[in-house]
């Protein structure tokens, strides 16, 4: 029976192709001059360069975190190239017609057509290829509503005041080892600003693609939702199939001003390495949102890729009545390792948070939920509810739960529950007796297990992204 | 004794009771019947002061005092008792300790001396015997692990010990077999002394064969739509709530 389950789980990685695109790539290595060159390539103002350098010097003094339940060889940060961009991007194409057709084909192959007329209705895309943003669609339509959606490199030029004010305000430069590294060497990413009272007229999304060998991708995303505004944002990511590990260390900062709402969804499908654990992306990401009064930040993630995942999208619930949510499905197979979860920091009164985490472990993988719920002394009436469920498929994998709870307020309520279960032979037998094959049966059971999370994905993506990005197990999304 | 004037109440901004009028005089037994969702249980919660049950209009007087102005425990001390339809379990708090605390809090309010442990034990044993609960139920946690019928009998036992002015019995008959029903009814009847009043909330006429009501009220859509004597209950038993209109006829089918 378990062999059938294994088969059902072993799908090939469709996004594993490499695009023949002539690129300009820095030689491997990191020192101050590399940071100066990145800054110069991006034509950055001096304040940005100084910010990067401060981060770099902080990073030099920091240690790689070792507390996560993951095991991988030490990364040599001098063996990574910190910048790579298609040569064709050098002259900054002004419209889609000027973009290298090979680049566009790459995205088409991934199911992300960048021609606006072919796109999913109501979704604007920023496509980031290695270290640069290729194109951002629907910009004029968004501009009409006053929404800014552009590569962060462009935002630094065009909206320096906004960037200066908010970059590093949620994830400080020297927050942790990987965030500091990112702050020093980030190359591109998306910037979003939703003005007061505006409901963003379409879904925004960024699609990240690592293509070149030995390059790290260090993108930085900053989303600011001004008072009373609303935005829903989705990111997707893939990389070619290679034998070497590659590093992806991103930083995402969300600022939700009073009464605003940010919904951030991730479909993470970086190359996970082969069945024996060879190759794959190290996905070491810092994501954090700051919620002011009555604001709401909702993180939804579907994590199926990467060799090693180290990621804790968090909410700082600073304003009274602010709300934080975290919905996660993490699937690990083969030799994948995931240590992921969230932090809910309750500072304001009557703040609320919900954590629903579904971990599915198969093969020889290890899947850990790690979370922190903290009730500060002023968080009167704050509440948290956490549910962590693990599903084990096979007897060679591991499922782990490490929830930290701290309360300093007598009127705050924290509830945490965790369970484990397996796809039982009985369940499989029942499905098969009713005429389903094993693959369909496993898919169905897993999908049922993840339902609470899938329903949080934006409609446009739940259907389309499911198909395009193999949102989870083959055939498990109906 | 208990006067309800034009009572309007809502739960989570949904209006459940709108314009209920009722007067209960000393020694009377009033039965409130009605279809599901008529607001029967809500009435008990509103009168006893449960959080989230908001009175939006009207007044309630108990012996001339403004009941709605009192805290939950003050209402109980003033003589209002609610026998719950689904009594909560409180593991770790012994039934005995709990009832002693309750009885003495009420006595204190009445200016009486608290009962000594021995006096209370004697009364509690007698009450347990009356409702046919084994004595070890006094030692167990409040309602902890009690069956549905045992919980109902435990409610009646508390009523006997507390000796309230007005007791509201919220579907105290639901889920009981005939023997248990007899025990509950006997418990209530033993407390009828011409002074104490009862509001018996029930879905079925059955209980009223055992506890004879002076008045029967039909509650529908949050107000009393029909009142009468005991014969009204029989009428309902025979032909259901069809007289209320098609909506209820179907609901009862």
């Amino acid at each position: 029976m378990s062999e059938q389950i294994e088969q059902a789980l072993s799908r090939k990685y469709d996004a594993g192709f490499y695009s023949e695109i002539e690129s300009e790539t820095f030689e491997n290595g990191l020192d101050e001059s590399v940071i100066r060159r990145i800054s110069a390539m991006k034509n950055e103002p001096d304040w940005m360069l100084q910010w990067r350098l401060k981060a770099y010097h902080a990073w030099l003094k920091m240690d790689e975190p070792e507390w996560a339940h993951v095991d991988y060889p030490k990364i040599d940060f001098q063996e990574i190239a910190y910048y790579s961009a298609p040569k064709s991007m050098k002259d900054k194409p002004q419209s889609l017609d000027e973009v290298d057709p090979e680049l566009l084909r790459t995205y088409e192959k991934l199911g992300i057509p960048l021609h606006e007329q072919e796109m999913l209705a109501g979704v604007a895309v920023d496509a980031v290829f290695d270290s640069v943003s290729v194109v951002t669609t629907f910009r004029s339509k968004l501009e009409e509503a006053g929404v800014i959606f552009c590569p962060i490199s462009e935002a630094i030029q065009k909206y320096p005041e906004l960037v200066k004010k908010y970059m590093g305000s949620v994830v400080p430069r020297s927050d942790n080892f990987y965030a500091a590294l990112n702050s020093a060497v980030f190359t591109d990413g998306s910037f979003v600003y939703i003005p007061k009272g505006v409901r963003c007229p379409m879904e925004l999304s960024t699609y990240f693609r690592i293509n070149e060998q030995n390059t790290g991708q260090f993108e930085r995303t900053l989303i600011v939702a001004d008072e009373g505004s609303y935005v829903s944002y989705l990111e997707g990511c893939t990389a070619p199939q290679r034998d070497e590990n590659q590093l992806h260390a991103a930083v995402v900062e969300l600022v939700a001003m009073d009464d605003s709402q940010i919904k951030y969804s991730t479909v993470q499908n970086w190359y996970p390495g082969d069945e024996n654990g060879k190759g794959g992306i190290y996905n070491f990401v810092t994501k954090r949102g700051l919620a002011h009064t009555n604001a709401k930040i909702s993180w939804t993630q579907v994590e199926t890729g990467s060799a090693v995942t180290w990621k804790y999208p968090s909410c700082i619930l600073k304003g009274d009545n602010s709300v934080g949510e975290f919905y996660s499905v993490a699937l690990t197979r083969g030799r994948q390792q995931a240590d992921t979860g969230t932090k809910m920091i309750h500072i304001g009164k009557n703040t609320r948070s919900t954590i629903i985490s579904k971990g599915i472990s198969a093969g020889r993988s290890n899947n850990a939920y790690r979370g922190l719920v903290q009730m500060g002394p002023k968080a009167d009436g704050a509440r948290n509810f956490t549910e962590c469920d693990s599903l084990l498929i096979g007897d060679q994998c591991g499922a782990h739960t490490f929830p930290y709870i701290e309360s300093r307020n007598p009127s705050a309520i924290v509830e945490h529950e965790a369970t484990t279960s397996k796809v039982s032979d009985d369940q499989l037998f029942l499905c098969q007796q009713r005429g389903m094959d094993a693959e369909k049966a496993v898919s169905m059971i897993v999908n049922g297990f993840c339902k609470e999370v899938f329903k949080e994905l934006p409609m446009e993506f739940a259907v389309e992204a499911g198909k395009l990005l193999e949102i989870s197990l083959e055939g498990s999304v109906g | 004794m208990l006067k309800i004037n034009n009572l309007h109440a809502s739960v989570e901004d949904k209006s459940i009771i709108h314009g209920l009028e009722m007067e209960v005089k000393p020694g009377e037994v009033h039965a409130i019947m009605g279809p599901n969702g008529a607001g029967k249980s809500t009435l008990g919660y509103v009168l006893s002061g449960r959080d989230g049950y908001e009175v939006t209009e009207g007044s309630v007087e108990l012996d001339g005092a403004d009941l709605l102005d009192m805290e939950v425990e003050e209402r109980a001390q003033a003589g209002l008792f609610l026998a719950f339809q689904y009594p909560v379990e409180i593991p770790g708090v012994s039934n005995m300790e709990f009832m002693k605390e309750s009885v003495n809090a009420i006595r204190e309010h009445q200016g009486k001396e608290p009962l000594s442990a021995a006096e209370f034990l004697k009364k509690a044993k007698a009450a347990a015997k009356q409702v046919q609960l084994p004595l070890d139920f006094l030692k167990r946690g409040v309602n902890e692990g009690f069956s549905g019928g045992e919980k109902k009998r435990n409610e009646i036992m508390q009523m006997i010990l507390i000796e309230p002015r007005v007791a509201i019995l919220d579907e105290s008959d639901s889920g009981l077999d005939v023997d248990a029903l007899q025990v509950v009814a006997d418990g209530v009847n033993s407390q009828r002394d011409g002074e104490r009043s009862f509001i018996v909330v029930t879905h079925y006429q059955r209980l009223l064969d055992y506890i004879k009501p002076d008045f029967v009220h039909i509650l529908a859509d949050g107000k009393i739509v029909k009142s009468g004597d005991a014969s009204l209950a029989h009428e309902v038993e025979k032909s259901g709530y069809s007289f209320l209109g098609k909506k209820y006829e179907e609901a009862e089918a």
């Binding site: 705050a412 924290v414 529950e417 965790a418 | 002061g49 909560v88 409180i90 593991p91 507390i162």
Partner: protein, 419 residues
Amino acid sequence: MSQWLNEVIESASATSDFLAPFRKQALSSLEQAGWPGRRNEAWRFTPLTSLEKREVKHVQQAASAQPPSIEGLSAFELVFVDGKLATDTSQLATPEGVTIASFDQLDDTQKQAASEVFGQIKPARHIFGLVNDIASTQGIFIDVADGVQMDQVIRVANLVTQDVDAHTRILVRVGKGASAKIFEHAEGTVASMSTAFSEYAIAEKGHLEHYRFAMMTGQAKQIGGTHFQLGDESTLNSTVVGYGSELSRLDVDIIHAGEHADAKMNAVYLLAEGELFDLHSNIEHTVPNGTTEENARGIVGDRARAVFNGRIHIHRDAQNTLAELNNRNLLLSRRGIINTKPELEIYADDVKCAHGATVAEIDEEALFYLLTRGVNRSKALVMLNFGFIQELVNKMPDAAIRQWLLPKLNDRFAQMEVK
């Protein structure tokens, strides 16, 4: 290394008894591990700064003290006073099939048996367990032979009456099909530092009823551990009671070494003033078919801090395990802190594991029920809060100990409420 630890090592180096080879090994492990700082996960929420610079104090004059008497308790009484076994008050008698002896009294066979327990069950990761390994010259070995059913409780009291460093050890073997009741009872309020570790090897079909009351308060620092190894079809029923003090830490390990063993553990802690109590429990299911149920409940008032870490570790082959852990806390004060972390580490798929943790106010529905019965709000809150603890205390198998404990807890709780 801290000054205190250096001194402990220095003064322990002179000992040479039958346990010397084990002590030597512990010393080298200890030197490798070093002093645990805040970045050490096991000590993350429990600062050791007050211990770091302590000067080691030796007993000048042995005091005499009696453990609190417990009405109706039929027990063999063993008493450590300020870290020394009080031979005059201790009953080192040997009923049929039972050995109760201090380390320096053991014959060769007994030494062999004791060596098979010393440091063999307690995992080496406990730094203060290693400290106890090298420094616990005072210890008791208890052996209950195969098939012997002991009705009487063996109480080992650990009393501190003066500023002293005390290191005591208990080694227990419960034979095949045997049954024993052992009660570790620590009391004391004066400034002092004690480590108290116990190891229990429960053989096939053996049964142990166990109590560990860590009731030292005030300035008495206590760091201890109780470590159980369960053989095939053995059963364990353990109750832990924790009072906080300036520094109070207890590590419990339950190791399922044999199949079909059943472990139950209930823990309650009541903390007031600036007290700290840190309970780390670790359940190791290394073989299939074991069951574990753990419930820990605590109430924290004033400026107190409760730390709970409950780990369940299901090893690769431990199929068919049933393990549950539940930790519930009440925080009564705005200056108090609760840190709880239930952990699951699972490497086998055919298991049923669950944990839950809550930090909350009392049940609103239960409060309403009490209020409708005329009970005043403040009294209702006390009843519900205490009921929360009492529910677990009521599950203690020994009625005499239970009846002694309840009013103690009640008084402690009442004092907390007043403040």
